[in-house]
């Protein structure tokens, strides 16, 4: 096997990741080749520095209690979530109450404003002389005939007399 190929195996060889057959080949070659032994020295140095680098960087982590910090953050979130839920519940309740009040006010306002004109038309060509007003929350509806000129006299609370003036 050529030196170039052997040198490509060196990182895996040196980390023990090469399969047994190639490991044997490589180590046999190394005993007889000065050049590849030099290459292995460099690979080893790179490898050692990598080990050190990661050891230093990664061990920085163990000085901090990650689990505690994560749990604390998670509790904090949970607390604020619960807090938020309670707050929302209050907001909803208040909102519902306010909406009911507004609805009631609006409805009563609406009934006051119901068109106060009650229109009476002709029934089958014959003019209507008396008309019964529909039950209405409107206190004093105005009554007029939409088809002919007329005067309307109120007889009872909900009965009117219509006289036509041609």
């Amino acid at each position: 096997m050529k030196c170039k190929e052997i040198q490509e195996f060196l990182p895996l060889f040196q980390k023990g990741l090469l399969d047994p057959e190639l490991t044997k080949l490589t180590s046999d070659h190394l005993t007889s080749c000065e050049l590849c032994r030099e290459a292995l020295t460099l690979e080893k140095r790179v490898s050692d520095r990598l080990d050190t680098l990661f050891r230093e960087k990664a061990e920085g982590a163990s000085s901090v209690d990650i689990a505690e910090m994560v749990l604390k953050r998670s509790h904090g979130e949970q607390f604020s979530i619960n807090h938020e839920r309670k707050r929302l519940k209050l907001v909803y309740r208040f909102g519902a109450a306010a909406a009911t009040v507004v609805l009631v006010l609006w409805l009563s306002f609406l009934f006051r404003q119901v068109n106060p004109v009650i229109e009476i038309g002709m029934i089958q060509e014959a003019p209507v002389r008396t008309a019964f007003l529909p039950e209405s929350p409107v206190r004093t509806p105005k009554v007029r005939d939409v088809q002919r000129k007329s005067t309307v006299t109120r007889l009872k609370e909900n009965v009117v007399w219509i006289s036509y003036t041609n």
Partner: protein, 174 residues
């Protein structure tokens, strides 16, 4: 190995145990990707938090380390994107930049710079192999790759690092 069911139920003691079993792995992967220890620590914490938040969705039959590393990768990617415009790596310049031959960097810096030229996946693999001494099968399980793919990534990563060092830092190679 911790009990996944207990984790799902939110057992904090189990979570502590799980963190102590996996934090070194996570930290090395995180540093491998971000090449900055402070960011790496933040990313690890964020990854555990996301993991813990989504614990109820854990797959009891799944390999939780792989799931955790996947979360971490997403966190790291987001961080990389965020800092795309700002210099973040520990004193690491643009990869491939011509070095001033008279500048004598420490060997650790030389290695950091050589790491910076690697792809993210290669850096993770190098990190797991060097820090946690995982073998290619274990690394493969975590990354969802076959052992031989892991080996070939590792081999090409190391070859590129070596070539970079010989070219820009010949004094290291001597």
């Amino acid at each position: 190995m911790v009990d996944t069911e207990r984790l799902k139920q939110g057992n904090e003691e189990t979570f502590r145990e799980f963190v102590s079993e996996t934090e070194r792995l996570l930290m090395s992967v995180s540093f491998g990707i971000l090449l900055n220890s402070e960011d790496a620590r933040d990313a690890v914490q964020e990854a555990y938090l996301r993991f813990w938040r989504s614990r109820e969705r854990l797959d009891s039959n799944g390999y939780i380390q792989a799931y955790l590393v996947q979360i971490l990768r997403n966190v790291c990617f987001t961080m990389l994107k965020k800092r795309a415009n700002t210099l973040g790596m520990d004193e690491i310049p643009e990869p491939g930049k011509k070095e001033n031959p008279s500048s004598r960097l420490g060997e650790k810096e030389v290695i950091s710079r050589a790491m910076a030229i690697l792809k993210e996946k290669e850096r993770m693999i190098v990190a797991m192999i060097h820090y946690e001494n995982l073998d290619s099968t274990e690394v493969g399980m975590i990354l969802g790759l076959s052992a031989s793919t892991v080996r070939s990534h590792y081999q090409s990563a190391r070859t590129r690092m070596k070539n970079y060092i010989i070219r820009y830092f010949p004094e290291f190679a001597r």
